[in-house]
Symmetry: D2
């Protein structure tokens, strides 16, 4: 499967429901935050985590991320690789190995 | 490019830095929430939104989503499609067309 | 010290800077989410938590909560007590003792 | 009413339910983030905002903030005033008047 298939499926899904008007970049950013908190909620208490809930909530975050990526005409996977390149510079292997220190304190 | 390429690149990036130990499912869920809020921050005030910041922050959310997906052995794109199928049932086209009403009030 | 003193101090602080125009209820809700994530960030990795950072970030969340409460003409402390009354009904002592189960599954 | 009354009521409420064990500082920080997102959700779409929902969700955020403040032995209102003093220095009136610019770009 490719990104294009997913994007096309999302586009059809949204268009059929005429939901495009709700999907401003700002609204999508809000939705991502809201869904991220629902994902976090799965881990809120000491209960054993139900994996199915993780899948479901992660799927929601990803869906809005893909919609926002489409909106700004970016490819999710390219965004990830682009950012990884920047992060490699901020966190060189020799300095960041095994530590979670922030780059500005490395 | 395929998901596998991105996953492999992420795996190498994390392994080289020995960061795997920090990436429990719960920690990744927290990271997704934190990065989602940084994305939201781009839209906080009335300032014109800088598209580059959206790209950067969205990339961070996506990166942690991909890492969490790997952790639970799921494909991000399959998760999206799987959830879309469930959502189609909750939000049938004829009922949800043009409205943002929640499914339990449709 | 009383709520009124804090509210009055906040009002003066905001007015002097002419920031009232930025403080729509929606913008304040966004700010609360953003600051809550910064608070969460203090707990992101395994580092020993610096208590001073918790104080600082909690103060930010509280500040925007108080501003939003003023906006909707509510008293923060009355809101807490009002909600506690509702929660007591959802979570009766005998059923919820020692468990973190959600009320709809009690 | 004073902070002490609210704190005492919260303490009794939590103790009766033996929920103290769930309320680590980290868990409370997570709860604050989760409740903040529920507050944000009230503003997600274009629907007219129901004020009652704002009250309810804001109350939840405030409740966890007060619990966390108790945990770190801080007074919510003192935290707000302490932070306001710091913020006044970062954002002097003459520089920040009417603008939402971040302090590091003032």
């Amino acid at each position: 499967m490719t990104e294009n298939v997913v994007n096309e499926a999302l586009r059809i899904f949204v268009n059929e429901r005429e939901w495009e008007k709700f999907h401003t970049t700002e609204n999508l950013a809000k939705s991502i935050s809201i869904e991220a908190a629902e994902l976090l909620e799965v881990f809120q208490w000491e209960d054993p985590t139900v994996l199915d809930n993780v899948r479901d909530e992660l799927a929601d975050v990803l869906t809005y991320c893909y919609l926002l990526a489409m909106k700004i005409e970016a490819s999710p996977e390219e965004l990830i690789l682009e950012k990884m390149a920047k992060t490699s510079i901020k966190y060189p292997v020799e300095k960041s190995k095994g530590v979670s220190t922030k780059y500005d304190q490395l």
